[in-house]
């Protein structure tokens, strides 16, 4: 009996394998883009979600008033035109007369007002509220005009509005309390189905005011392992995929049927020093660390050279040649002298925290920095943490040093006011501030002339690099991979997938 059973089981197994192999990988229907990503969205409320993965999804469904193009210039979205008053204390938008929500109702000034009021309501608990505090009142002279009256000049407000966190949602849905449970936007795609951490089904919005979408829809699969994503691309199971790990991305060009899109992004890899702790409170010690770090070596070793050494300003239009900044060339002699001057000729011991897999290069970065700082006698203990544990410690400022990948923004003020102003929300994470930084940030906020703003922030960058509260390392790329029959995708420095609206499948 035993033998009989086993033989049967084995035959069944063999049969199963044969059948399985035959049924594998059905061809994709021509006009639906099959897409894969590692990390799924964590929620549908555009005002509240801050995770990169959620924003990537919500940008396809919702729209803000304005958005960025590939050069980070502000272009129309729901608003067709906008204007700052001369004193930068009033901002007026004209809405697109054709704009409709996905239920067919027009997008009106009342929806804009309701959306911003929701965002500003503390009960909503939107982290992005911090960017819109200068809004005093919102007026709606007619159905298609919105006027924001501001309590102080706030030029970066417009760039802050070019974010899905400032999406316009239907006033009726706000009243019904369904934002976050139902995805009803005005964007190019409708969300037909979402199984968290498994898949999303999107269909093109035929009534989208922004133009015609060339594909019928997008099927997104969540594939948690990026080597499996590469395998799925290789076997044409997937047309388009997001890739995070530079090591996986560099394998894509080896595949004859695949194309890799590589775009420099605004986010920056950085070694944060905690200037409220000894001995990092000593300027000479911080400068010594900055001089001892070989940024190019960190980039080459931890990220196979995939990226670019950067100063604090990462946005096009503001970036400068980093080699002009303080100690951007490794200088061990100078570092040793600075250490000796500070009374630490024999070095010291400190702990550096880093998050597991966030970014994929975190552990490698920490290790390279550990070996570089050993040269000036600084003994680093690396503490790897699960992301959420790391975030908890980071927010409390509970670290000597931290390896981080911090998000960037199109405007230097929006990007750094949280850290480098006296009232910044994350001042206790940055743990360093001086009058120069604070006053330069305020000047930059009020200045409307682009050339003068550029000068102000160049001075800011030079000063902060010299004060070395943090050691800015490099910016990396955002990667997407696609089959050769996918064309028309345009990338942006924010890593947005909005370019999928222009994609065609041959």
């Amino acid at each position: 009996m035993g033998q009989h059973f086993t033989t049967k089981a084995l035959t069944g197994l063999a049969l199963g394998v044969a059948l399985g192999a035959a049924a594998i990988a059905a061809p994709a229907s021509a006009a639906t883009l099959k897409m894969a990503w590692k990390q799924d969205a964590t929620g549908l409320d555009p005002h509240k979600q801050t995770a990169f993965s959620s924003i990537r999804l919500l940008e396809l469904i919702y729209e803000p008033l304005v958005r960025f193009d590939k050069d980070l210039q502000i272009v129309p979205a729901l608003a067709t035109s906008w204007e700052f008053a001369a004193d930068a204390k009033q901002l007026t938008f004209k809405l697109d007369p054709n704009a409709k929500f996905q239920d067919g109702k027009p997008v009106t000034a009342a929806d804009v007002k309701a959306s911003f009021e929701r965002l500003l309501d503390e009960k909503t608990a939107a982290a992005a509220r911090a960017n819109f505090l200068s809004i005093e009142t919102i007026e709606t002279p007619d159905d298609k005009t919105v006027v924001f009256k501001l309590s102080q000049p706030d030029v970066p407000l417009l760039t802050a509005m070019a974010s899905i966190n400032a999406a316009i949602v239907p006033a009726a849905e706000i009243a019904a309390g369904t934002i976050g449970t139902k995805a009803l936007g005005s964007g190019p795609f409708k969300l037909d189905n979402w199984v968290p951490n498994s898949k999303e089904t999107l269909s093109a919005n035929k009534d989208w005011a922004g133009g015609k979408v060339a594909i019928d829809g997008i099927d997104i699969s969540v594939l948690p392992d990026e080597t499996a994503i590469l395998a799925a691309l290789r076997t044409k199971q997937v047309d388009f995929a997001l890739i995070n790990d530079p090591l996986v991305a560099t394998l894509v060009p080896d595949e004859p049927n695949l194309v890799l899109n590589r775009t420099p992004v605004l986010a920056y890899h950085v070694l944060q020093l905690n200037a409220s702790r000894k001995p990092m409170d000593n300027l000479a010690v911080r400068q010594a660390i900055s001089c001892a770090v070989d940024r190019q070596d960190v980039l080459d070793t931890a990220s196979v050279g995939e990226g670019k050494v950067t100063g604090p300003l990462t946005m096009p239009g503001y970036t400068s040649d980093p080699s002009s900044l303080f100690c951007y060339k490794k200088d061990i002699d100078k570092a040793k002298k600075l250490m000796a001057d500070a009374g630490f000729a024999d070095g010291f011991t400190a702990t550096v925290i880093a998050a597991n897999g966030e970014p994929a290069t975190a552990a490698a970065e920490a290790q390279v920095i550990q070996s570089q700082l050993a040269e000036i006698g600084v003994k680093l203990d690396i503490k790897m943490m699960e992301l959420n544990v790391y975030v908890d410690a980071w927010l409390k400022g509970d670290f000597d040093m931290a390896v981080a990948l911090n998000g960037g923004r199109a405007d230097p003020y929006s990007m750094y006011n949280r850290y480098w102003t006296k009232n910044g929300n994350l001042q206790k994470v940055a743990n360093y501030i001086d009058d120069t930084l604070d006053s330069l940030m305020q000047k930059g906020r009020e200045e409307t002339d682009p050339a003068k703003r550029k000068e102000i922030f160049a001075e800011f960058e030079k000063h902060i690099a010299e004060m070395a509260p943090w050691v800015w390392l490099y910016t990396s790329f955002s990667y997407t991979a696609q089959q050769k029959n996918v064309s028309g995708f345009e990338t942006t420095p924010e890593g947005s997938l909005f370019g999928l609206t222009k994609v065609t499948l041959q």
Partner: protein, 320 residues
């Protein structure tokens, strides 16, 4: 009181212990649902915003009150609502469980179909080259982590043959058996591989014990064919350790196979728990762990009952 009643009476106690352990342990990890959702942006929240979110996530009340409320719910088979899925925890678990159950069964079939014959074969050829070969193979199988096997399989199939099972979703067997099997075979083989090795080793040594017993020699000397002695007389008596091992393993597998589910992008119970922990979805973690613990208890009970069926000399709970 007989064995079964006594075992069943300990169920609620064990479950209560598990509930306390998971409830407090998950809350001891730094970071909460707010930092899980917002990451470093959580630092931008005002105290009022933070309070609003704590209320939304149900973490604003004292921890003992939270526990008491949850426990009352559990008694009414209400495991709470998952904040990340926006659905009742039990319904999410029951959506994911069929996959995990099928994967566990298929992995067991693979392991037993390979491991048992290999073990018996090796035992009957004790210390001969073929025995050595099986033992080396078993050693390799047991010491290779299953994510390595999984990634190698995926690479070999996709790069070598251009094929790969459909990933990222799960088609139930009842909907489309062919598609279902094409998705599940590779993960089952991956999972079954290492376990087949353990089964081989255990069944080999159990068989060796039994084959040296008197009754086997008697049967052989009476002229019963060797084949029949092995499969009909010896094997059933060698099965007890195999059943024990399989029971424990099956219980583990019902808790989800995190790595294999990750690699093959299968939405099973293992990944559900992992994601719930990473997102600090407390209700979901608690519900899953309770569910897994319950399954483990049931499987263990079934294993005990199976002993009796295999060996009528065993009388459970009557003084050994």
């Amino acid at each position: 009181m007989n064995y079964l009643t006594r075992r069943l009476l300990t169920f609620p106690l064990v479950m209560l212990g598990v509930s306390i352990l998971v409830f407090f342990a998950i809350r001891m990890i730094p970071g909460d649902a707010i930092t899980a959702m917002l990451g470093t942006e959580a630092g931008l929240l005002t105290p009022a915003q933070r309070a609003a979110l704590s209320e939304y996530f149900g973490i604003d009340q004292p921890i003992l009150i939270q526990y008491w409320k949850w426990l009352l719910g559990v008694f009414q088979s209400d495991l709470g609502i998952s904040v990340t899925h926006g659905k009742p925890v039990l319904s999410i678990i029951l959506e994911r469980f069929p996959l995990t159950l099928q994967l566990a069964i298929m992995a067991m079939v693979v392991a037993l179909a390979v491991g048992l014959p290999a073990g018996v074969f090796a035992a009957t050829r004790k210390e001969r080259p073929s025995d050595l070969g099986v033992r080396i193979f078993a050693m390799i199988g047991q010491s290779t982590p299953n994510f390595v096997v999984g990634l190698l399989l995926i690479y070999a199939l996709s790069a070598g043959f251009g094929i790969l099972p459909t990933m990222g979703e799960f088609t139930p067997f009842s909907v489309d058996p062919l598609r279902n099997l094409s998705q599940m075979i590779l993960p089952a083989v991956t999972l079954g591989f290492a376990f087949a090795a353990s089964v081989t080793r255990i069944s080999r040594s159990a068989m060796l014990d039994v084959l040296s017993d008197d009754y086997v020699r008697t049967a052989r000397s009476k002229g019963v064919p060797k084949r029949r002695v092995i499969w009909r007389h010896a094997l059933p008596n060698a099965l007890i350790p195999v059943v024990t091992l399989s029971g424990v393993e099956f219980g583990y597998l019902l808790g989800g196979a995190v790595l294999v589910e990750q690699i093959y992008a299968l939405p099973g119970l293992g990944r559900l728990v992992l994601e719930a922990i990473l997102q600090r979805d407390y209700a979901l973690v608690q519900g899953c762990v309770l569910f897994i613990a319950f399954n483990f208890l049931v499987v263990n009970l079934l294993v005990d009952l199976l002993y009796v069926a295999l060996d009528p000399r065993i009388r459970l709970g009557e003084g050994g």
